[in-house]
Amino acid sequence: MEVTQAHLDRIAAVDGAVHAFLYLDAAAALSAAAAVDDRVQRADPPASPLAGVPLALKDVFTTVDMPTTCGSRTLQDWWPPYDATVTCRLREAGVVILGKTNMDEFAMGSSTENSAYGPTHNPWDLDRVPGGSGGGSAAAVAAFEVPLAIGTDTGGSIRQPSAVTGTVGVKPTYGGVSRYGLVAFSSSLDQGGPVARTVLDAALLHEVIGGYDPLDSTSIAAPVPPVVQAAHAGATGDLTGLRVGVVSQFRGEGYQPGVLRAFEIAVSRLRELGAHVVEVSCPSFDYALPAYYLIAPSECSSNLARFDGMRYGLRVGDDGSRSAEEVMSLTRAAGFGPEVKRRIMLGTYALSAGYYDAYYGQAQKVRTLIIRDFAAAFERVDVLVSPTTPTTAFGLGERVEDPLAMYLSDLCTIPANLAGNAALSVPAGCSDDDGLPVGLQVMAPSLADDRAYRVAAAYEVARDAADGGPLAHRVPELTEDRLPGPNRAGVVGR
């Protein structure tokens, strides 16, 4: 309970500035923590090593005892009638869910600026974005508000925020973590995963939430890969014989020089650990971004059709004079932000008769080519590496008016979503041009998530040793003078 209280105190102190949380339930958290303590007292401790550990849950997972807004007005104050499988597994393990974190609306975005409830601020520089769509989860971990968080990654929404906040973020193999109760954005791409400050913590969390779920028909009928074991094995710091491929497409124009330099240093560190590094070309990756921005909006236009105001969520304009269709249109116009509307229209266009083959159909072919490039690459190497994202955290407001510029944040992360294989971001120090965190992305074949963890764990040990300590501990103090005035939105809760 002391641990939970300490984190609640921390949140009270800094979340006015960071705004990672949309909802906090201190009473329920303390009660859950007390229940764990009670079992320990009675010499019947919960089996999970994460019992009693506080956690923040991205507000896209359903929870019966907390609202689930998905960062949208459409679901403001919506209390789901069921828990997501991820939620259930966390509760069963005795993890203490403190609250729900901020996100780009319906997981669409790379900065958390598309949240209907105001942006989250990067703890490393409060005037910068924490990345997105899972900026709240990443910022909460980076600011030491929680040691663990859960995010979702459709085009990079766990990995990119982790890269720009100096945290570890993992996108498991698609199908590795249940999507039951994960409000769908793009069903063939969405995947829930862990966010933490260390590779081992992420692995422990991955083990709790992962595994087959009969309620999710896209769930893989296989046990969670041995990620915890791999994290421990990697911590010996020995990567002798490991074949590493540097993706040649992920460099050059559009990449911040400081990020590329930090990446090169990371790669040489892998060599020092015994890895054999080669360059690997995956030509289809150049088409990953356009393919994604056809597939994801298409799937989203279908998935978001359910938000029509008829059965739950916002309803606007029902004054007795209007038809259901008119009310639906007004409701959706009022409930969705501009990015969501753009993607719905883009998807509607791409799927419409006459355009389907040229856009969506072609994008699905690109997807096949990307899968083939990964397969070919993994014949030659064990893992692929790249910078997680081309730049460090950009400023709040900097890219909001320019959707394409925003989309470029996902350049390196998208291929793994399209192919479904495992990928993670591990902190790789700071950029020498602005002192902000940089992420190293490690990609492994599908179902070989453990391989990525092993490499990340080894790298983490070497990097911590060289830098004199973990990057996470170098996050600036969130002192009084950095905390804003009284008109900043506070934390909602009870």
Binding site: P81, Y287, P290, Y349, V366, T368
Partner: protein
Amino acid sequence: MPAISRDEVAHLARLARLTVTEEELALFASQLEVILTSVARVSEVAAVDVPPTSHAVGLTNVFRADSPRPGLTQQQALCGAYATEDGRFRVPRILDES
């Protein structure tokens, strides 16, 4: 090179049940045009013989045993509703008067 007109955007909005203002129509038309131009690159790639992939995992026909189990109760299903009546969702008229 796709050029998307305001009329097309208005049509898409109608299909997607999204009311848009005049300003939004203009803004979205220009933004969508930029995005569509960029994503049209996918046509540069892939010969006719490349099969499309809709799903990375490639599962087929995932079924469960045909045995009944409880779903949401009526109360649970109605709990988020804006308006209910007689244990049903109360919605605006669907059919036209005429």
